[in-house]
Symmetry: C2
Subunit: 192 residues, 2 copies
């Protein structure tokens, strides 16, 4: 049933969006390891694989990413919801969030930015372009490597993302990924 | 428990991501209304509100968006999963997907691109920048208006996104948005 829609001014109402832990810094005194929660994140291109993150320039992590040109995108699980939330609220300027939350920084393979050991999947990223858009800068980054917990890989060597228990974010709330509704292409397969 | 992670080449493993119906065209003979399903979509900036979509140049919708500079982002619900899937598989070059799927094109308020009447929330977007990244072009677009079904607005005039029954996409599968895990800021409120 089609209702006549209200018309509101433009705002950030895309939902649901990923909510990811972005690891940054290189472990040096000038660029210590830090974590920031990012909801403004999306895939941009499949080949070569690229994604985007939007970060406010006043965030401590912004300078780390600008100076090092690297970051990691770590996919959190239900068990990490409170850590994810915390890393989006508290600044890393004075606090070591890894230590504070008992999270394990793991050296990247292709980048100096740290992975979050507790996240089952992490993407190692190198900034390709940085665009000043307004409240946020958009970083477009190459995904150089995908790091995966061996426990998520099935007998055929395939990643089973469903096992991970990932979460999503909509309109101020974190949600579990719920029931499966279908596999890509099912609407056409069904018809035949 | 931290496992030692496998290291795979970079690939498009951000998950879960939005899966949205993008409306495009202006209803003219050259630029007929069309729908395309987009998973490479993310928020880019809060103020002014901007989002990104990644589209392959060989898609019929690509030319429509390039020529008109406009599109809509429509948030689908569980009931629309098969339509969402269909619009990602079938080309609009020879088929009117609105007609084929019984979906209702609704004129935009600020753009000529059509909304999907059956989607409870739609964002009207104007392209600001188009970047050729590889397999996909990235469109960065201003969100000019948010269109909302009145049924989603609570007594205080606030949008209740949870009512919508939105869906998300991970690794080739569509999923319902599941149980709520917490509200933004809960980790800090709890502590106090």
């Amino acid at each position: 049933m089609v209702q006549e829609k209200l018309c509101w001014p433009g705002s950030a109402q895309l939902a649901p969006v990923p909510a990811v832990l972005v690891g940054c810094g290189d472990g040096s005194r000038r660029n210590p390891y830090n974590l920031i929660t990012v909801g403004w994140c999306g895939m941009a291109c499949s080949d070569p694989p690229q994604l985007t993150i939007g970060v406010r320039p006043e965030r401590f992590s912004f300078g780390l990413i600008r100076r090092t040109g690297e970051f990691t995108v770590n996919l959190p699980t239900k068990a990490l919801t409170a850590d994810l939330d915390y890393c989006g609220v508290v600044s890393g300027k004075a606090i070591d969030k890894f230590k504070e939350r008992g999270l394990t920084p793991v050296p990247g393979d292709t980048v100096k930015a740290p992975l979050v050991g507790e996240c089952p999947v992490a993407l190692e990223c190198r900034v390709k372009e940085a665009l000043e858009l307004g409240s946020h800068w958009l970083f477009i980054a190459d995904i150089l490597a995908v790091r995966v917990d061996p426990g998520l890989v099935d007998g055929n060597g395939k990643l089973d993302m469903e096992k991970a228990g990932l979460i999503t974010y909509a309109h101020g709330n974190y949600y579990a990924v719920g029931e499966e509704l279908g596999r890509f292409g099912f609407s056409v397969r069904k018809k035949q």
